[in-house]
């Protein structure tokens, strides 16, 4: 019997008038690797932000490690501190995540805010930059890095505090194929070791490598939840939720060679 990391019961959320989550109920156990699938606007990012206590349910209840996720609870410094130590979120847009003048400062930001002693922070910066292959970038300003480098710095800046839960928002969006393969390889091996990982994506090709369970969202609702392979093989479901589309085209040769087959809809979002 493993501990429960997140428990959501009938949660709704809206941005002013725009509904984003509708009656979401789900349980994520500690150590699970979960993929959140869904087309653009289906509510993946909103759900991740709620798991990171950056927004709170308008109705329904949500808990993290059996503690309530409410605005009132997070007014308390101790609650906030304990939560931030355990849960880390890598934002989709690295320009949002990387706001420090140098890569070193970026890596040190989280630990310093969490009150680590400076010598310990310096050691952690060295260790994590070696592990992520970004030691040579330490004095560079993050906004001048390539897309792949930015992603690695963003990931390192969150993993430096060794959170129990890693939340990833579309980690492969806007990456070139080599950086993407590099990152997926990293995600497949590295977070490991009992860490809970929740990845929002519509990049179906990476799901098998980075998750064991898949939750499909459509218009703010959970429409499927099960083992990754079962979900990926439910072509009907994937088509209904716009995760794949049918596309007629020709692979060269005369028009007779044209055929219909499935493509994953890996657009940016």
């Amino acid at each position: 019997m493993t501990a429960t990391a997140f428990q959501f019961d009938d949660v709704t959320f809206a941005y002013r008038t725009q509904r984003a989550l509708e009656g979401v109920s789900l349980t994520i156990r500690s150590g699970e690797r979960v993929a959140l699938l869904g087309a653009n606007g289906s509510g993946k990012s909103t759900l991740l932000r709620m798991m990171d206590a950056l927004c709170f349910p308008a109705s329904g209840t949500a808990t993290a490690f059996a503690a309530p996720l409410t605005e009132a609870a997070f007014q308390d410094d101790a609650t906030n501190y304990a939560f931030r130590r355990r849960v880390g979120l890598v934002f989709q847009n690295p320009d949002v995540q990387l706001f420090n003048p140098t890569v070193s400062d970026e890596l040190a930001f989280g630990p310093l805010q969490l009150g680590w002693e400076k010598p310990k922070v310096r050691d952690a910066v060295d260790t994590v930059s070696a592990r992520f292959g970004i030691a040579h970038l330490k004095d560079r300003p993050p906004h001048r890095l390539s897309g792949g480098e930015k992603k690695r710095v963003a990931l390192a800046s969150v993993l430096i505090t060794e959170p129990d839960v890693l939340l990833l928002d579309e980690p492969t969006a806007a990456l070139d194929p080599a950086s993407r393969a590099n990152l997926v390889g990293f995600l497949a091996r590295e977070p490991g070791a009992g860490r809970t990982v929740v990845t929002a994506t519509h990049d179906l090709d990476i799901v098998e490598d980075i998750a064991d369970r898949a939750i499909v969202l459509a218009e703010g609702r959970v429409v499927a939840d099960g083992p990754v392979l079962a979900v990926l093989h439910d072509v009907d479901l994937l088509r209904r939720t716009h995760l794949v589309f049918e596309h007629r085209h020709s692979h060269g040769g005369p028009p007779a060679g044209s055929h219909g087959h499935m493509h994953s809809s890996r657009q940016e979002g």
Binding site: D52, L54, F99, P101, H143
Partner: protein, 284 residues
């Protein structure tokens, strides 16, 4: 979204489009900021001064610049500013490019009429129109330009010799409110993101448009672009705030780097503070 009623100025017609100028300005700002990143980490005098002391001292000199009523003192302050730049390895070429020319054009436009309009002893008469340039007019123009050049040079020295987060931390430790410091910090950092956005918008526009636009179309486009940039800035600002909170930020920035004040820093501060004190004390 931007209100289109503001697009009635008629500028941009027949000249370089306003959007292009906007982007060009932003691109220059980027090159400028990159320069600053490089010079701030170079070894030099001001680079070695505690940022808090440096901000105080240079602000004191700026106060002296605006307070003095003697052209000789103003000239001396200007020479001092250039000397500070030189021992901080910032060459006059960079100063000329980044401040002097711009400030001269800007303040020159403002003071040009004064040369003729201030009554006094004529020293030369312009041919044809016969306007007289007066000694008093020249003097007042020299003050305006000299003050602007000297103050801008001193202000630039803070930015060129201090990594930006250190400027922010120094301001915070000198009692500047946290909100003001946060806004400054955000502005500096996100100029880059906005430059990218503006550049993309320009490229997208260029690739879509074949025929030249008339002035009205152009203004509409500029307003839309500015509206999009504002919306984007706002969205970015709140996302960045969320990203900071996600990593444990609760309103106070902590840096790995500690400031250290050394004895020469105090000497520098004492001299810098004495200058405006002397000027204000000795002036009638």
């Amino acid at each position: 979204m931007a209100d289109q009623r503001y697009g009635i100025c008629g500028c941009g017609r027949g000249r370089r489009g306003a959007l292009d100028s906007l982007v060009l300005g932003l691109v220059n700002a980027e090159a400028y900021a990159l320069d600053a990143e490089a010079t701030a980490t170079r070894p030099g005098f001001l680079q070695s001064v505690d940022p808090r002391i440096k901000v105080l001292a240079l602000v004191a000199l700026i106060v002296a610049t605006t307070a003095t009523r003697s052209l000789v003192v103003l000239a001396a302050l200007f020479v001092a500013a250039v000397a500070l730049a030189l021992i901080s390895r910032i060459g006059p070429g960079r100063l000329a490019r980044q401040v002097w020319v711009g400030v001269l054009i800007f303040s020159g436009i403002i003071v040009l009429p004064a040369i003729f309009l201030v009554p006094g002893t004529p020293i030369v008469h312009l041919p044809v129109v016969g306007w007289a340039i007066t000694l008093q007019g020249l003097r007042s123009a020299a003050f305006v330009v000299g003050r602007a050049e000297t103050a801008a040079t001193l202000a630039l020295l803070i930015v060129l010799t201090t990594p930006w987060p250190h400027v922010l931390k120094a301001l915070a430790s000198l009692g500047v409110p946290a909100a003001a410091v946060a806004v400054l910090g955000m502005t500096y950092r996100y100029v880059f993101v906005l430059i990218e956005a503006a550049r993309h918008m320009m490229e997208a526009r260029r690739s879509r448009i074949v025929a030249p636009l008339d002035g009205r179309e152009r203004r509409r486009m500029l307003m839309t672009a500015i509206g999009m940039l504002l919306a984007k800035t706002f969205a970015l600002g709140s996302d960045v705030h969320a990203a900071m909170i996600a990593r444990g930020y609760r309103g106070e920035v902590r840096l790995l780097h500690d400031f250290h004040t050394r004895p020469p820093d105090w000497v520098f501060l004492a001299i810098a503070l004495a200058v405006p004190a002397l000027i204000l004390g000795l002036q009638p």
